[in-house]
């Protein structure tokens, strides 16, 4: 997140006068011999390294929760890259939605891996080798493509673009206010009203669908999973804990299994 402190857009000039003695002290320091560092680029390297490193860590890790954590870091670093590219709104969006979505992944990872065998499902070594080979070839292909255009290779102009939130918002409601790129025909730029509406409806459908799938309901017919659950004696749970048995007081002898999971009634 320190990307926001990058040199091009920092503005804390007022602080100088809040802490003048400190500034004077610092100013007295001798100039360092390095010619000049573009902090923007350094931060880019930092975030790029984090994003790539954690992406690879996601592949390398076996534990679901750790994978989710690395994914969060990778996505967070990507948000930093977006900020550096001047897409502040996209960056904040990435933080809010993507990372928030991964949070849910994380929670599910924790919940679904309550049983020890599911914590890490390890792929076979042949799979690993195959993936490494395929991944390497894919990467080389992509990199070749990336380097193939000369215009992409040169250094950037190094100037922060105008804030994009307002034009973006206007574009989403169908009005283009941003500067058209060179060579764009005047009549050819349209807003994004229709896609915006489609996405809105889409999200609504997904929301309803998710609520439908996750709604609470009573079951009347047993599922295969319940048969499995009743086949797995509850005693395994009980003996794992320091309690010998739970008292089946007031319940039938077979009542060790709680009514809460009994789907078969």
């Amino acid at each position: 997140m320190t990307g926001m402190l990058d040199m091009d857009i920092i503005d804390i000039s007022t602080l100088t006068h809040v802490v003048p003695p400190l500034a004077t002290t610092l100013a007295a320091l001798p100039a360092l011999p390095i010619a000049g560092i573009n902090w923007h680029s350094v931060l880019f390297l930092l975030f790029a390294g984090l994003a790539c490193g954690f992406a690879i860590a996601v592949v390398a890790a076996d534990n679901v929760v750790r994978m989710a954590l690395y994914l969060v870091f990778s996505l967070g670093a990507t948000a930093g890259l977006f900020f550096l590219a001047g897409a502040e709104f996209i960056g904040a969006m990435q933080l809010m939605i993507y990372v928030g979505g991964t949070l849910v992944l994380l929670v599910f990872g924790v919940m679904l891996t309550a049983q020890a065998p599911l914590v890490s499902i390890k792929p076979s070594s042949s799979d690993r080798t195959l993936t490494a080979v395929a991944g390497a070839s894919l990467l080389s292909l992509l990199l070749t493509a990336a380097f193939s255009v000369d215009a992409w290779r040169g250094p950037g102009v190094g100037v922060v673009p105008a804030p994009s939130a307002t034009p973006l918002g206007m574009a989403l409601v169908g009005v283009r206010v941003d500067e058209p790129p060179a060579g764009t025909p005047v009549g050819g730029r349209v807003g994004y009203m229709l896609p915006f509406e489609i996405v809105s409806v889409h999200l609504l459908v997904v929301l309803v669908g998710a609520a439908y799938l996750a709604r609470a309901k009573r079951r009347r017919t047993p599922r295969p999973i319940d048969a499995l659950a009743s086949a797995m004696p509850v005693e395994t749970v009980a003996t794992a804990a320091p309690v010998a048995t739970m008292a089946p007081t007031g319940r039938s002898a077979g009542g060790a299994k709680s009514a809460l999971v009994g789907g078969g009634r």
């Binding site: 680029s41 679901v64 990778s74 990507t78 977006f82 799979d127 990199l143 215009a151 102009v157 929301l207």
Partner: protein, 139 residues
Amino acid sequence: MMGLVLATASVASLAPCLATIPLFAVNPFTEPVGVVHYLIVGAVLFTAGIACMTLKRNALGILMGIELVLNGANINFVAFASPYLRAEGAPTLGLDGQVVALFVILLAAAEAAVALAITLNFYNNHATVDVDRADDLKG
């Protein structure tokens, strides 16, 4: 753990190393980065995502792979959209790139919700999240 550190370190050092070869003609410490730098990151993320999808047997792992792939693509969109990364006056995608990235993020959230629902149903029926066991349709 050590492997992780090494991987991170090697990737972090990848960019400056690449910068020294004449292909780039950019010193990342002193000059502004260009589109190609973002494309490299996008490529790495994309590849990692694909690898994740193929390698993992855990349904959640596959889901994470998909997220990575979408992110890799998003980085490209943003990079092409950013005037910062291009030479003076060079054409960019402009706002369109950002809007597409925005839609990708939104749809990814929707996709995650649906995929999670599928995973959950799968878990309900199979008591596992190992997708290799999803062979009910096998003849």
